[in-house]
């Protein structure tokens, strides 16, 4: 990866982002002023102990939530100014989610699972079926499109989830502990798949607490107590 990647215009821009939850009668400061830029094609790992604020940051970047204060721009759009419908559209068009537990619809085929985000798209996608097939082929599951999640291994299920994340051609893929439920060998396959997506220009952001998973990333961010404590780029 060229060193100059971070000099480009950032795809996600966090400026003094805070997030405060009210639990009962006291406030929990999950994020206390975070400034980060994420650049296109740069694979970034977010690390930190639980309660450090990394999940909160992921939720904000994923447009699942809005910051309490500060500015968060995704693809040039200010998140805190958006309605819930507009946030849904951002999630659909710009973000692809990959979860630790895959979160596939258990009774639907791999193909139907991949079609899901395409159906919710406001863009007029003429052939949902073809696009879903294309995505499954990209992750190497062209032969198992009609299988249901139960008939697939954990690694294959996570590939279906990645195909689903790719369906609407997102700029960003958010992977929350993508290998957390997989064995070592399968983990390596999944990480290589994600690295490949990064090479195609997709910004892959992953949350993990495993160092060897984080080592696949070009950049490692560490959080503690709602603040960014280190930001390291791997020298290639």
């Amino acid at each position: 990866m060229p060193d100059l990647a971070h000099k480009k215009k950032p795809i996600i821009q966090c400026r003094n982002v805070t997030k405060t939850y009210v639990v009962g009668d006291h406030e929990v400061h999950a994020l206390r002023g975070v400034d980060i830029d994420f650049y296109a094609g740069e694979m970034t790992a977010i690390m930190g102990p639980s309660g450090s604020g990394k999940s909160t940051l992921m939720n904000l970047i994923g447009a699942l939530d809005t910051p309490t204060s500060g500015s968060l721009l995704i693809n040039g759009e200010e998140l805190s100014a958006l309605s819930s419908d507009q946030l849904a559209d951002i999630r659909n068009e710009t973000i692809g989610f990959v979860f630790q537990q895959f979160n596939l619809l258990g009774r639907a085929s791999a193909l139907t699972n991949v079609k899901l985000p395409l159906r919710y798209s406001r863009k007029h996608i003429t052939d949902i079926h073809d696009r879903a097939e294309e995505c499954l082929k990209m992750v190497g599951l062209g032969e198992r499109m009609d299988h249901k999640p139960m008939q697939l291994s954990g690694g294959q299920q996570q590939r279906v989830a990645i195909a689903r994340a790719l369906a609407c051609s997102p700029a960003v893929i958010l992977a929350d502990e993508p290998t957390g439920a997989l064995d070592t060998k399968t983990s390596i396959e999944i990480m290589e798949l994600l690295v490949n997506l990064g090479k195609q220009g997709i910004t892959v952001i992953l949350v993990t607490h495993e160092q060897d998973v984080a080592d696949y990333a070009h950049r490692q961010l560490r959080f503690r107590d709602g603040q960014l404590v280190s930001d390291e780029r791997r020298s290639s």
Partner: protein, 409 residues
Amino acid sequence: MKIKVAFQSALESLITNPLRSFLTMLGIMIGVASVMAMMAISEGAAQQVDAQISALGANNLTIRPGADRRGGRSSGAASATPFTDKIVERLKQESFAVAVSATNRGSVTVVSGQQNWQTSLYGVNTDYFITQAWQTTEGRLFDEGEEKSGRAYAVIGQTIADTLFEGTNPIGQRIRVNNVPLEVIGILEKKGQSNFGGDRDDIILIPISTARNRILGADPTTGKHVSTMEVSVTDNYDMALVQSQIEDILRDLRRISPGDADDFRVFNIADFIRARSSTQATFGILLAFTAAVSLIVGGVGVMNIMLVSVTERTREIGLRMALGARKADILGQFLIEAIALCFLGGLIGSVLGIGAAKLAANLGDFPVNVSMSIALIALGASVAVGLFFGYFPARRAAKLNPIEALRHD
């Protein structure tokens, strides 16, 4: 909301969970089935009543001797003096009278060959055929001359023909009624069951003079007695007015002093049937209401299971939101699930209800009437129930916070 996607998601979810779908629609199914069955049965009963009224002749007044005992009054009860041919002839002169029948009825044993049968024998004048709208399928009715001269003729009902003659032609054959031989000259057309449960075809009609002279016997006090009269009233006459006119004529003829009670009764059988049918209608409405309550209970059942389903599928809802579903998309999906379940339940329920009504009709031998409009109303009602009871769970699903929903297990 993307309607097509909502439909797609809803139907996929229903098909992939057949047991849950079936259990959810069970209540609606039973509700609609009972509405349909009840409506079909009560409509059928109403139709039967209409048919009976028209068969009886809505314009007929029946006159019987004996006091009106309503209200516990029994003055004049002793005088159950029958009417006479004279009274019948007098009433025939009135302009309101199309026909005035005279009837003497008795219970007799009829014998033909080795067969014998207990039945009702009616000694009648020829006007009886008009007031009762009797016609023959075979042979003929007796005429006025034959009636007056007391010929030993009999016109028999279909039941008698079937029982005594079993396939052979009864016309011209002899039967013996209380040991009096009679010649069968006609067979009456079939009328079926009466409103009061009797078989209207289990009947023998003979000239009233023959009945008086040879079979039922004459009343020693009055001679040519008549126990029941029936007056067919010309169309467009006010029945109540005619009734009071007849009462006046009879009081005069029977010399009842002013202030004394009538020793006869004039009544309209159609009124009795109408009164009875209005009771039936009330009963039918009550049943339909009960059934409607079960439809609402079914709706509450849908709501309950949908609420459970929303909780159970919280993660799925969170996922759909993460993938870009708007609140309205989620609302639409669950609403359509509820409506589709209720519609399908209503459809299956309609079929079951109609089937149940038809089955009951076969077993219980009463008519049912399945009308398309009731089926449509029942379907419409189940869709409305789905919309109403589906909204709350659907709104709850749409209001879920995606982050919490995704974390739910």
